[in-house]
Symmetry: C2
Subunit: 200 residues, 2 copies
DNA sequence: GTAGAAATAGTTCTATTAGAACTATTCTCG
DNA sequence: CGAGAATAGTTCTAATAGAACTATTTCTAC
């Protein structure tokens, strides 16, 4: 039997639902389309970019749970849009999740690493090329994250997002450095394997 | 009209299919169960751990495409198992993929970062606790990756996987360092926000 | 000034992926 | 010998990514 003394467990929802609700905790009202844009600009780096389809599906569910409300707003004589806002119940729920839900381990999907792991199937020069490209992409992302951090820092209430953007920036800088080291390792290995082949 | 001069494009398959096929390019024959274990030990860090259900589904598809063959092997009088092996066509296909398929950008899902991004909804002490836990987990993973690198390094033909394990190790070390820096930033922000609140 | 391209807004469909659950046999150790 | 962990294999469901699709609107070139 359950007793009233137990703290209510945080509602069971996928991380995407909480990310969407979290976005709404910064703003008064947003449409699904706005949400997608905000997500792409803010969550992109350290977490991820939920697909538009996911955002719409989660909004539907959050509304059913009473965590958001929506209203139709006429923007001109022909088109309408649906604007969503977080409810007090939604605010309680997300606070509970941030503080009490078990934290899922970070997960990385790294296509370059997968290909390097299959290096015995590739031309060493081609492999080098892929890792070098990855290094340059990381540099570009570090730059973008730095800009995001700067623009978040000047907006009141966005101090934590700014912090996370800086975290991302450093993360991409590390990725860049690691790729450079990988290139050295790759060259060394190619030399060793090349020697062995020549000696045969 | 297609001409015979064009190089055949690499078969369109999800990364998981190539990872499974790649695993088979190291070994003679493996069962679905073996594959799952190998994947958990080798791909886990830098790429990911495909679910057992995915491995079985991909094996079915790879067999339909002629990239693997299977045979039933009796292990005792009651149980049988199906052993899979890569075919010459499979070897050609995966070489093509490793070298010529466009590389998907790395993607990260970071629950700790998501919660830090929603820091305005949490108790600063609880947030600190989560980041500190993440730092310690990263240290443990660095250790595991280091062990994986050492055991791969002594096996002939596993030079590239050993390289990737070392890459992972450094990656987790960087993650550990970044988490430590994040703790400082968090403390600074808490001080600033606390000051502002007190001044009011 | 108008045809066509690109951008904005919103939604739906499909395939991939993760993870839990489930069956069934065998090994282990108290 | 009995409980429970390990091995082997499969299936189901939910989450997720990404492409496609409809429909307006604004921009740009002729």
């Amino acid at each position: 039997m359950s007793t009233a003394a137990e703290a209510p467990p945080p509602a069971e929802l996928p991380p995407t639902a909480w990310a969407v609700l979290g976005l709404l905790s910064f703003e008064r009202e947003l449409s699904g389309y706005d949400l997608k844009k905000w997500a792409d600009n803010s969550l992109r780096f350290f977490y991820w970019s939920p697909a538009a389809s996911q955002i719409y599906a989660e909004l539907k569910r959050l509304e059913r749970l009473g965590f958001v409300t929506s209203r139709i707003a006429a923007q001109d004589d022909l088109r309408n849009k649906r604007l969503f806002a977080i409810t007090p119940a939604g605010l309680v729920a997300i606070r509970g999740w941030v503080q009490h839900a078990p934290v899922e381990p970070p997960m990385l999907k790294h296509g370059v690493a997968l290909r390097a792991w299959l290096g015995h199937l590739a031309d060493p020069a081609r492999l080098r090329e892929m890792v070098a490209e990855h290094r340059d992409n990381s540099a570009a992302l570090a730059e973008e994250a730095s800009n995001a951090a700067a623009s978040a820092a000047i907006t009141k209430g966005w101090e934590y997002p700014a912090l996370v953007s800086r975290w991302s920036q450093r993360y991409f800088e590390a990725e860049q450095r690691l790729a450079a080291e990988m290139l050295n390792d790759l060259d060394e290995l190619a030399a060793t394997l090349g020697d062995a082949r020549r000696r045969r």
